[in-house]
């Protein structure tokens, strides 16, 4: 991904417009954004939280298997999770965004710390090139703040 494309994807001030640009870029590459997950709590959708010093909009929350209320933010998904997947040629795995709630509720726990929990999907998938992979979801809690979904990425399964 060239700096020009990053600049174009991140130029609009409105996060919805940035999301539309990412969707257009993905469509051009043969991928699409998945629909929102159906098994998440959207009662706080639209609420604003301050995360690491930035205002973010709640998309949904999930109570994970450790009883933590984990928030997923629209700005973080667009500006960090999606952009990183595109940057690293992992846009093919963006379809798994909808799997975040079930992984937090029923996935494998690889590491559980005071400020970070690392999840792995129980399900093994087959990648475009025939390699097996699982989906890694990492949630974090900055000091004094809420738990939030920090990232989602595919992990090569040996």
């Amino acid at each position: 991904m060239t700096p020009d494309i990053v600049a174009w994807l991140t130029a609009p001030r409105d996060v919805r417009e940035r999301r539309v640009r990412i969707a257009r870029y993905l469509a051009n590459e043969g991928y699409e954004l998945p629909p929102p997950p159906s098994d998440a709590d959207t009662r706080e959708a639209g609420a604003m939280h301050r995360v690491r010093g930035q205002e973010m909009t709640v998309a949904y929350s999930v109570v994970d298997q450790g009883g933590r209320q984990v928030y997923h933010y629209i700005e973080h998904e667009v500006d960090h999770i999606l952009l990183r997947r595109i940057e690293r040629a992992e846009e093919w795995a963006i379809k798994h965004l909808a799997a975040i709630p079930p992984i937090l509720k029923r996935g494998l726990i690889a590491e559980e710390g005071l400020d970070r929990v690392v999840y792995l999907s129980r399900r093994v998938y087959v990648a475009p090139a025939g390699r097996k992979y699982r989906i890694r979801v990492i949630v974090q809690r900055p000091a004094g703040e809420q738990w939030y979904v920090a990232t989602l990425h595919p992990r090569w399964e040996r």
């Binding site: 990183r84 940057e87 690293r88 040629a89 992979y133 990492i138 920090a150 990425h153 595919p154």
Partner: protein
């Protein structure tokens, strides 16, 4: 001259991504994240199996730096690389990550914090005469 890595840093969560400039484009996935306690991983091409780059997605370099250096000493990533964005040539991965840490995390300028003394704005006091004016 080592292979050239393109560098990007995201200060939101102290994320870095180093990708080989000359890499053929192919789908990638994270590899060896458990070896580095999920603080760092190699990015591997799914078709060729080649290493395409390195990142700490899901970690936080500010929090993880010291432990990550220990892990890289225990499990070194071979090779020396050029990172023009950081002004580095023939640098090891540990040297590159140290440069990122020193420049973007430890060396980051702190935002000034102004103490809030009171919510009440004092009214302007007008002296009878300037303090340095001699009395009659």
């Amino acid at each position: 001259m080592g292979r050239t890595l393109h560098f990007r840093f995201d200060s939101f969560d102290n994320y870095f991504c180093l990708m080989f400039d000359d890499r053929p484009r192919e789908p990638t996935a994270v590899w060896q994240d458990d070896v580095y306690e999920y603080r760092f991983h190699l990015i591997r091409g799914l078709r060729t199996g080649e290493i395409k780059g390195f990142s700490n997605d899901g970690g936080d370099l500010a929090r993880d730096y010291e432990r990550l250096m220990e892990l890289l000493a225990e499990h070194p990533v071979p090779g020396q690389y050029d990172v023009p964005d950081l002004g580095l040539t023939d640098a090891t991965l540990s040297e590159i990550i140290t440069a990122i840490y020193e420049r973007y995390v430890a060396g980051r300028a702190q935002e000034p914090v102004y103490p809030i003394v009171s919510d009440v704005v004092p009214t302007l006091q007008v002296a009878d005469r300037p303090a340095d004016e001699p009395a009659d």
